[in-house]
């Protein structure tokens, strides 16, 4: 028996309750196995315990810790979706753990030969919680609502090429496109494009997404307490799911799910260690090694489709933010690898372009840009006519290089803001960090701050980055009023791609144009980390979807 087999045998014995946690540790130590190796083995074997391992036990409430506050759960008007979307709503298609696009509410889809239409078949027998059948007309209502300017949906720009939505019969939905738009499947598969009952939404008005929700997911809405929690309960009449990768095709096993917003970073790890929650998203990076060493916990970590970006307000012409050279100077002053090492404990990657290196459209060409080079930064600002003043702060025509940086009041955002502040101080820029709660933060973004730090999370990162950098989305969510013709051309190419090859080529163009012209400055991407206690089964976070689904989840006794 080699060392790995010995570890696996020990972990299996512990999982099957044949040896205690203490025995596991003692025996592992006797074999010369450190806590870290043991933690890795536990993570490897446990976090994705399949529902088919043993007979699922129905009942119980899953308590999940969440690292953010919750947003309004209205798919039409959401600017952010949280894990509860995965329990309350469903989409036309879904990404499986292997990255394959699988059917969900649409049993199949076809792209026309001329690539100017996509036809979905909506015949799964799904229903809304209210009992209304999910047919093509119901889906059309959702997409029409997103496109309707009166609803102010931030998603609408991604449907710009969709010139008509038709439902010729109950099971056929056709998206008519003004030009080939291969990415449309990427758009509709994300949790943002969840299907809700528009009739119920219209009746509920502002209350929809807050106190009343009518989706198609296996759970019904119970309560949302902003800043605290969201509760859902099992929908006993759930008609079932056709998603191939789900083990459970019928109603959920759980009686309910309770998500708790744990905004105080250090509390997250403590709560799952103490058994106050069953699962957790994103403990602090500095707590991950400790959690991995805890044999009672399973930890999985993978690069998430997200990124931290640093935006400057192009309207601040007195600070030369509209000048590419100034943005490049700022970018070269930031040591991304050091941020990943020190703040993310290597659970992340530097971003030299707009999207994570783990994304399938990632173009490594971007790595030739934005490398840490403070001397180049100083040369670039000097070229623009900025010289150090008496206090060391850069000046030009009597204007000091001093500006505010708006960040969300969360531990990593604050630390990242502090690093940017210190990094730019090295080249003579005075940055005042404004740390604001979530509501005030988005309010400040809407007012066009001097600069801002933003964390995006979207299953297809290019689709969301488009919103922050394209001139078509000024002033929201292009809060910096960034306008770069080369980037706009790349966006057009992305939205006109008619095949996978064209989409990839457009994606490469998009990434390199952003890496070079910097409508926003990419910083780092962090790994998402998921932690579970051993009684949680069938819970499967994976890198192709930003939250786990809950159809298969059950709690072992």
């Amino acid at each position: 028996m080699d060392r790995n087999e010995a570890i696996d045998a020990l972990v299996s014995a512990h999982r099957e309750r044949r040896i205690s946690r203490r025995d596991l540790m003692v025996r592992a130590a006797a074999l010369g196995i450190g806590a870290s190796a043991l933690g890795t083995a536990l993570a490897r074997t446990a976090v994705t315990v399949s529902a088919q391992d043993v007979n699922p036990t129905p009942g119980g409430v899953l308590r999940e810790g969440y690292d953010l506050d919750f947003s309004k759960m209205d798919p039409v008007a959401t600017s952010w979706y949280d894990p509860a979307f995965m329990a309350l709503f469903e989409c036309l298609a879904i990404d499986a753990p292997d990255g394959e696009l699988q059917p969900m509410l649409a049993s199949n889809w076809t792209i026309a030969d001329d690539a100017l239409s996509v036809t979905f078949t909506i015949d799964t027998g799904a229903k809304f919680h209210s009992g209304r059948a999910v047919d093509a007309a119901a889906v059309k209502e959702v997409y029409d609502a997103i496109k309707d300017p009166a609803n102010g949906s931030p998603l609408s720009v991604l449907f710009t090429p969709v010139e008509a939505i038709e439902a010729p019969d109950a099971s056929t939905l056709v998206l008519k496109l003004s030009h080939p738009y291969y990415d449309v499947l990427n758009v509709v598969k994300t949790g943002y494009w969840a299907i809700c009952n528009i009739v119920a939404r219209t009746e509920a008005g502002e209350a929809f997404g807050q106190t009343t929700i009518d989706g198609t997911g296996p759970f019904t809405f119970k309560e949302w307490m902003p800043g605290s929690h969201v509760d859902v309960e099992k929908w006993a009449d759930y008609p079932g799911s056709i998603v191939p990768y789900y083990q459970n095709k019928g109603p959920a096993y759980l009686d309910g799910i309770h998500w708790e917003a744990i905004l105080e970073g250090a509390q997250r790890a403590l709560k799952i260690e103490n058994g106050e929650i069953d699962t957790l998203r994103n403990p602090l990076a500095q707590d991950v090694a400790r959690l991995q060493g805890n044999p009672d916990l399973s930890v999985s970590s993978f690069s998430e489709p997200s990124g931290y970006i640093f935006g400057q307000n192009f309207n601040k012409t007195e600070l030369d933010f509209h000048e590419q050279g100034m943005r490049q100077a700022i970018s070269h002053a930031i040591d991304r690898q050091a941020i990943v090492t020190a703040l993310l404990m290597d659970l992340g990657s530097p971003l030299y372009g707009p999207i994570t290196p783990a994304d399938k459209y990632y173009d490594p060409t971007v790595e030739q840009f934005n490398q840490y080079d403070p001397e180049k930064s100083k040369a670039l600002v000097a070229e623009l006519g900025w010289t150090p003043g008496a206090d060391g702060i850069l000046e030009k025509n009597g204007q000091r290089m001093a500006f505010n940086l708006v960040v969300q009041d969360e531990s990593f955002n604050r630390d990242l803001g502090s690093v940017i502040q210190a990094s730019l101080a090295e080249i003579g820029m005075e940055v005042t960090v404004q740390s604001l709660d979530r509501g005030s933060y988005f309010g400040a973004l809407g007012e066009g701050p001097d600069s801002y730090l933003f964390y995006y999370l979207w299953p297809v990162p290019i689709d969301v980055v488009i919103l922050f950098v394209g001139s078509g989305t000024i002033p929201v969510p292009n809060w910096g009023s960034a306008s770069v013709p080369a980037v706009d051309e790349a966006i057009t190419a992305w939205q006109n791609a008619g095949s996978e090859e064209e989409l990839r080529a457009a994606g490469n163009l998009f990434q390199t144009s952003i890496a070079e012209t910097l409508p926003t400055i990419p910083l780092v991407v962090r790994n998402t980390v998921w932690v579970a206690r051993p009684n949680v089964r069938g819970w499967l976070p994976h890198q192709y979807d930003i939250y786990p689904h809950y159809n298969d989840v059950w709690l072992a006794q």
Partner: protein
Amino acid sequence: MPDVVVAPSSSVGVVLRPDPPVQHRFARTVKRLSRNKLALFGTIVALIFIVLGIIGPSLAPYDYAKQNLMKANLPPFSEGHLLGTDQVGRDMLSRILTGIRISLVVGLGVTVISMVIGTLLGAVAGYYRGVPDSVISGIVELAWGFPLVLLAVILAGTLGPGLLAAVLAIGLINWAGFGRIVRGEILAIRESEFVLAARATGVPDRRIIVRHILPNIVAPALVMGSYYVALAIIAEAGLSFIGMGAQPPLPSLGVMVAEGRNYMMLNPWVITIPGLTILLIVLGMNMTGDGLRDLLDPRSKNR
């Protein structure tokens, strides 16, 4: 130097007792203080921190805001970093020395301003009573009952979060504490014979307050002042902890505790060093206050 001490109401002409030489009084005070070991310890601790607050930042080996991410989270006694480094590689010693100055400036500054305003208004309320007393006492009650954090939020919203907003918030509440005590003391003293005598001989009110009454409340004000310095330091640290006080990278001790709390399991010194510093400063100030009370309170002189 007079041979006798004449009570403040000199017109009464009551001979009390011989006035000991100043040197003798100082020696006696030190002697009494040295007998109170806790007070002596507290005074020494407080003095050490005051000295550190004055000269410490000039001794700091690094710029308190200078980061070196590749040297983040070094433990104490690391090479070149006596107290280690924080999560972004800033030298803890340099930040602590600057933090001590900030705490002391806030503590002493707020207390002096509160003492002046509180004493002035408390004296007017206590001496004149009637309408001035009602008005001032109403304001005092309002200020004293106002939640510090709420006031800090209002001021931070108006002025922007920062030390100025925190100092104003603490000062706007703390002066009321002085006002209440001073008013109470003056209510008692204003009926004293020497005050009645001064008033009977036509001494103006202002002169009676300044020359005859206020000197009699210096002792309790000093005792209270030492406690209020400690209170102000804790309040500033608390407000900075929740983001309503000093703003990064300014290393208020409260900011350091706030920034370090997410690292306390990995690098406990990042939070314990500023926490212990706050504890020692406050302990020193409170022990000094206890010692002063024992020294200056007439009821304890005969113990």
